[in-house]
Symmetry: D3
Subunit: 229 residues, 6 copies
Amino acid sequence: MPLVVRNTPRTDLAVVDSLAKAGVATVHEAQGRMGLLRADIRPVFRPTRIAGNALTCEVAPGDNWTIHIAVEQAQPGDILIVTPTSPCDDGYLGELLAESLRAHGVRGAVLDTGVRDVATLTEMGFPVWSKTVSAQGTVKETPGNVQTPIVCAGAYVRPGDVIVADDDGVVIVPREQAAAVLDAAQAREANEASKRIRLAAGELGLDIYGMRDRLAAKGVRYVDYEDSP
Amino acid sequence: MPLVVRNTPRTDLAVVDSLAKAGVATVHEAQGRMGLLRADIRPVFRPTRIAGNALTCEVAPGDNWTIHIAVEQAQPGDILIVTPTSPCDDGYLGELLAESLRAHGVRGAVLDTGVRDVATLTEMGFPVWSKTVSAQGTVKETPGNVQTPIVCAGAYVRPGDVIVADDDGVVIVPREQAAAVLDAAQAREANEASKRIRLAAGELGLDIYGMRDRLAAKGVRYVDYEDSP
Amino acid sequence: MPLVVRNTPRTDLAVVDSLAKAGVATVHEAQGRMGLLRADIRPVFRPTRIAGNALTCEVAPGDNWTIHIAVEQAQPGDILIVTPTSPCDDGYLGELLAESLRAHGVRGAVLDTGVRDVATLTEMGFPVWSKTVSAQGTVKETPGNVQTPIVCAGAYVRPGDVIVADDDGVVIVPREQAAAVLDAAQAREANEASKRIRLAAGELGLDIYGMRDRLAAKGVRYVDYEDSP
Amino acid sequence: MPLVVRNTPRTDLAVVDSLAKAGVATVHEAQGRMGLLRADIRPVFRPTRIAGNALTCEVAPGDNWTIHIAVEQAQPGDILIVTPTSPCDDGYLGELLAESLRAHGVRGAVLDTGVRDVATLTEMGFPVWSKTVSAQGTVKETPGNVQTPIVCAGAYVRPGDVIVADDDGVVIVPREQAAAVLDAAQAREANEASKRIRLAAGELGLDIYGMRDRLAAKGVRYVDYEDSP
Amino acid sequence: MPLVVRNTPRTDLAVVDSLAKAGVATVHEAQGRMGLLRADIRPVFRPTRIAGNALTCEVAPGDNWTIHIAVEQAQPGDILIVTPTSPCDDGYLGELLAESLRAHGVRGAVLDTGVRDVATLTEMGFPVWSKTVSAQGTVKETPGNVQTPIVCAGAYVRPGDVIVADDDGVVIVPREQAAAVLDAAQAREANEASKRIRLAAGELGLDIYGMRDRLAAKGVRYVDYEDSP
Amino acid sequence: MPLVVRNTPRTDLAVVDSLAKAGVATVHEAQGRMGLLRADIRPVFRPTRIAGNALTCEVAPGDNWTIHIAVEQAQPGDILIVTPTSPCDDGYLGELLAESLRAHGVRGAVLDTGVRDVATLTEMGFPVWSKTVSAQGTVKETPGNVQTPIVCAGAYVRPGDVIVADDDGVVIVPREQAAAVLDAAQAREANEASKRIRLAAGELGLDIYGMRDRLAAKGVRYVDYEDSP
């Protein structure tokens, strides 16, 4: 029986917003390289970068009824995240649902399905990540779960986990770890900024990261071209 | 034996042009969700939106000879649509063929193959939808059919059927139904415009579409987070 | 044992730069339709067009250590080309490596893997072609070969072969043939320019290429629509 | 509105059964290399070879209701052929539907979707070709068309067209052409049998097919290894 | 930091073994169509049908070290289930690991990666489900988690959840629900057996499932062929 | 211009035959994990295991003329290996070409294309590895190179290199290294046989390979379930 869970916990939007600034690649590294969605989940337009609380939604193939149910559970700062119960490329979300989601404070959407009206979504500046673009419409016959834990594009997501999404893809941060991951991400950013300056000046990663001894230990052999096998 | 059919029927361009305005998603809904090409047929540049009469063309793998035959059969307002007799990603169309097609009034091209010279196609503003981008050239050894019925990317297309193509993909409207589909599409557009206003004002789809009774009948259960299983 | 080959031969940059102007499709035709990479190797941003000397690099799955080794072997005018020893979509290259490569005169990168930080790569204007975009990071545990012959995305590449890359894809020109291919490419360009003018004026390819006799010999049959089978 | 067409024409089973003997590759050649389904439609078990009259069926994604409707329209000698209105890998057919189809004289099934219970289908010896094997079940909410023309896996199929299916795949023969295609297929088989004997005896295709002059005309050059470039 | 969790809970093997008898399709239906792995996870040999307790394992790309760690945590009745931290088709498991797993009572393995030595695995009768077959070996440089919750091929799996795997694919039953799912599966099997008898006797699903009224309500229209549009 | 190279070097068949016994996975390891073809090149029937000298062949898309040219260059102990100049799934080889190849002593075939007549190939016991099975025929219009170096399915292959192929896939051994690789493979086999006995007796890989210290150094942490995070 389909279940709609109300009043689920959310992550503090101050933390969420700071995670958005760090971006997907940095956040992913900062939490030990976990929580990334499959790489075929791509943004409808670029550049874009957002973060928000997961508003989860499980849909039947070819059926977007559940998204209408989910809108009622939305809170400002949420990002809709949709997984089909079996693989489906149909266009589950278009300009009408985007308008409705935006009216309820939802910041964007991530779908392991298709979406449509992408020209309008782009004009509206409503950021959406999806597996496919497809004009194929959907029916409203089989409702599914809202705000229950789901697996979306290979990642486990619970309501109120943080979704960070940008041109590189989408990553999930469990809500209990959001603050700690933010700290780690910010430390990482500072470190990367200083490294970028050194690399731009021509210093080698081999030296900055102290890799030469390990290379030798691994048996890496340097030869001149005329001596190569 | 390859067949080239001359003087095939076309759809009235006034109808065709109005279908372009409605766009792929609306036209697809308006004709009962039929006639969509596979979702991996994507535009070379975005945004773009056109409609035209199908100029059909069946090509051998790695061989674009038939497209040259097709150009001679073109009329202003046509869109070239190309299907390979077996799957092929080669670059069947580039700047030269685009120039030639445009000189004969062709509005764009749809190919279930690859295309090339995409930087030039973009500069020219000549809209093309394809499965792939590939620099791989083709030979001219095996001619195929022109202006016969074909299956392209999963859709059945006859000469003079209407092709509508935009950022969401490509849909085929049978020429006998073009006027009726246009009526349905325009009705649908008016309806959607009014719904968009209500949704933007925060009304819920659940209420606008009167879904609450059906949800209850389907056994959808609402629980608070602390009571969830 | 991993091998790093120093002081490999390069192709004269005057030839390389002229090949860039010809572009991938023309160069590919000019060398007899050889040397193209798989069509799923796509640019991170468009439009873009470069050429350079191949700086080859073979990486373990999920491990980008070898790229750091390769940077030290770079010379101005090089393009980094990376192949994994087994298929991998991870993000092997991001803003830090791009910064480092640029500091050493490298003009761009081609990877049969994923890349990340694509928003930054785009801002930097550092051109990259890859199979995927992925935020997934990599480790530094297993070094591989640098400046040895490799197979990348279906093409055989040796250090100092010319890489030409643009919106249509990527092609490899063996360094011994670079000058001859350039000649052929330039001849081809002149020929295409004159054909484009004739096609734009409405002349048919069937006439320009003298195809009508061969069509008849192949048994192509023309019929009017009302007489078609 | 879904349509079920009754009393559709069929092809004479004597012709159908002889087409089965010729097999898919020969029949495909005999009708000018047309009508083949996509190569990813594969048999559940091998070896197998059947032919029958197409019993067509269009299903909604994740919904097999229409197949139940189709069973009632079946006649002995039919083969069920199923296309989804948008791509779907769910298990639309399992042991119960196979049992039901068999009880009504249906010889097998071809689906551009998934199937399940493949161990039982194999034990039953009920031949099925599908895109996928998947245990994922389907709902019964959205009926579709039965015995109307469809596109299945890239081929156009009308009720009563002949389906020939074996280990090589599936091909459709339009019912009006079935007798002529059978004649051509049988001529082809006789010809191939005599060629097979000559080839088994070591004669070369170059000689049997008289290809040597054409090879020379195409500029094929023979060199010894020590003289190769 | 990689984590190995010891002494995790398991599901009673009596329940597990009865779930094996029911098979994947029935168990999947019985638990409300949840927990199925992606359909591209296929058995190395057929027919086969097993169930066991999940022994979970998260591996780095191209690195099977963690599987060696997992063997030590195995208990009789377990099934190894392996997910890579990013997509990888390498051959993570071959005859040596299969021998080692079997020696510790492990009944089979499920991997969202490649496997190798499939001829030997088949001879041994050690059942394995995988995404790919690949001879590509792996390194032992980066350990990962053992017996922690994972996402494998789109399904969420915890140590001691029940894995049921057969020719149709693989399904996960949460250990808390195993007994209830078994009851539902057995009820379903009895029901299906009686239906199969009626269908084999030629009764129609339309009548057995009482679908005719709903069909009419959905507007399904029956017409004879000569009256069809 | 197409080139046919005669009298190319071959590898001693005694070495070739011993490499067959070692099998693909072992040979691949023995030569440092190089030379494997893409994992989607699969055998038409299983089990099977052969080795032979590469008879290389480059074909145009949809055109198998070159294979007929190649047969004339065959010597006993060869394996035909075919690469298309652009991706193509057509059925390039069927029973007639298999018969012809066998008559000239060819042991099997590897194609990065489709093949057909797979039921007959299976009956004949003529082993073939291919990317696809497809009944789609080919033309004879565009000849290609025979016995020149090629890239096939991601591997670089020269005439007379050793091809080893079995249920796990296909690997190429450069002819100059064949004897050395055989020595390494046989050493590896002996080593694996002794390990298999120890593993079958229940010894752990962690102990046999002495991995426990390295695990600790990598920071792997063991906790009991009740203490896990």
